[in-house]
Symmetry: C2
Subunit: 333 residues, 2 copies
DNA sequence: CTGAAAGCGCTAACAC
DNA sequence: GTGTTAGCGCTTTCAG
């Protein structure tokens, strides 16, 4: 692999002149430039990003740290990030924590090792605070997406999940449901807490009782426990509607319902979050709160780039509205 | 951000000793080591991967270049790659070409710039050959997955798509279908060609006519043209079954059918490739050829790592069988 | 067991 | 316009 002095030698100039051509900086005689360009082509020269980054103290690399790259929500975030990053001359490195705080630690460490210029991160939970501190220590700017971390002031782009959950539940209440189950994520995760809070507020405001047995705490990944639905239906006074807090929980709930011979929405209603996977247009039937995932990525990255350029100082909080999409998974009771 | 000589100074040793501790290479007195470790912790020292890679001429970074990271097939490939890479001390950088050969060129260039140690790539099509040559020029090992490139000898992991498509079509034929439509990908793409070939073989072997009007050439991404199905059904002698060549084509076909009031499988049967997205377990009803996507990633990466270590020399070809999963989208005619 | 010198490939700062 | 020198942060090589 040719390096800069190979090119310089072949063009009969110094390395510095080659560097100038490379960066279109400083003056280079047109004729010299041509000779240099020719030499670069002859040698298939591609400059080393490593050497460049080492001296410039800039890698033009951003990292995206998400809990599950197979979740359509996060792949959409990734696209939003990618687009903004590319437009600004940055690369993106994707990483996947599997909702595991230790893996997250590893990846955050990696971000430091590769000297990423900034990190967009959907933290696994409140325990992520140590990982974020690591980034701060290394003075790597970061922006949180989707999830806050208890007691941490930082740039953030999230959805108004309390409000969205509340609307979903109120929709059910208006349809006459008052036994509404919730399958949500773990409580050490701010996104889950918000969604559950919206659920609780709606019930409380409408003077409906909160029943512990109607709340199931599931994981946010694909490995959602399949028994929750059966347990709910086995209750003495079973729910007539189910609220699920994400893509996977909803899919699993639907599968369980089908297995148990329950029809949606005739026998039971269901609402969810983020159920927007175009792959599932085949059954576009879940009434859901759709968050603007692409904007999470693009706005988050813009914030991050501003941080990197050192433009503003006070942490910014961007809260985006979700849109409630009424489809066919709910029915009057 | 602390560097190696900061640590050295604090520990009262030379940079070299710190390096030895870092790499557990050479002898360091236990006591000295302790002092060094202490200093590293005090300073939150994280060594620069840039400087390290520059001198070692190894980045321990692999790249995965796929046409669509939102396709569950490729996210599964990514997981397979990630797992093997991590186990061997390598990082993975994911990139997304959107089935666009120019974007692919950019990303391949990026692989060279960051001095990736190797590349796993599902090429966009036959035109990708120039991109692969670029890699060869830069002596960056690569392994093809899923798709061959016309006239290029290279390491490869793919599925037996001809065979799998043939089986799917034969299944339909056995059910009494003889007007079978095919919605496949572009012909400049080896994977599409294989699938179409399997379709054609099956028909030919069973002495059924090949009808051009039954073959629709779609894109492989989400943006599948929605009119194909309507066009097929508008034919004087419309098909009684449809074969789609990937996830997105199948989803779009199903949506169109539903819109047109066609029931599956009562009115029309449908079979597909790779329809294994767990998110769609809600309607697990497509009879499909499921390729071992995870193995594409893991085996491909193993091959790649062997290449990087320079273990073997003759290009290896690994062809994996798909499993035909009979579900509920087909019916006797 | 530890250190000094050199250099990976590039560019910032200064000469000429 | 172009070249020289120095150094980014680390490791290799060789000395001690």
């Amino acid at each position: 692999m040719a390096n800069i002095s190979d090119v310089a030698k072949r063009a009969g100039v110094s390395a510095m002149t080659v560097s100038r051509v490379l960066n279109s900086s400083g003056y280079v005689k047109t004729e010299t430039r041509k000779r240099v360009v020719r030499a670069m082509e002859d040698l298939n020269y591609i400059p080393s990003g490593l050497a460049r980054s080492l001296i410039q103290q800039r890698t033009y690399t951003l990292a995206l740290v998400v809990p599950d790259i197979t979740n359509p929500f996060f792949t959409t975030v990734a696209r939003g990030m990618e687009d903004v990053a590319r437009k600004n001359g940055y690369r993106v490195v994707l990483t996947n924590t599997d909702e595991d705080t230790n893996k997250e630690t590893e990846y955050v460490h990696m971000c430091a090792t590769i000297r990423a210029d900034g990190v967009l991160i959907a933290p696994t939970g409140d325990a992520s605070v140590v990982n974020l501190q690591l980034l701060s220590q290394q003075s790597i700017p970061f922006v949180l997406i989707d999830r806050e971390v208890g007691g941490l002031e930082a740039d953030l782009v999230k959805g108004d999940m309390v409000g969205a959950a509340r609307q979903l539940i109120e929709h059910l209440i208006e349809l006459g449901h008052h036994r509404i189950a919730a399958i949500t994520g773990p409580r050490n995760n701010a996104a889950s807490r918000d969604r559950l809070q919206g659920y609780q507020w709606a019930l409380t405001q409408h003077h409906l009782p909160l029943a512990d047995e109607l709340i199931k705490e599931a994981v946010m990944t694909r490995q959602v426990d399949g028994r929750f639905v059966a347990e709910l239906l086995a209750l003495p006074d079973p729910p007539t509607a189910i609220f699920t807090a994400n893509n996977f929980q909803c899919a699993r709930a639907l599968a369980s319902l089908r297995q148990l011979g329950q029809r949606v929405p005739e026998d039971i209603s269901i609402v969810s979050f983020d159920n927007s996977d175009p792959l599932c247009i085949m059954e576009p039937f879940i009434t859901a709160a759709i968050q603007p995932a692409y904007d999470f990525g693009s706005l988050g990255t813009q914030l991050l780039l501003e941080r990197i350029e050192g433009i503003h100082t006070a942490p910014q909080r961007i809260v985006l509205e979700a849109s409630i999409v009424h489809r066919k998974s709910t029915q009057r009771r």
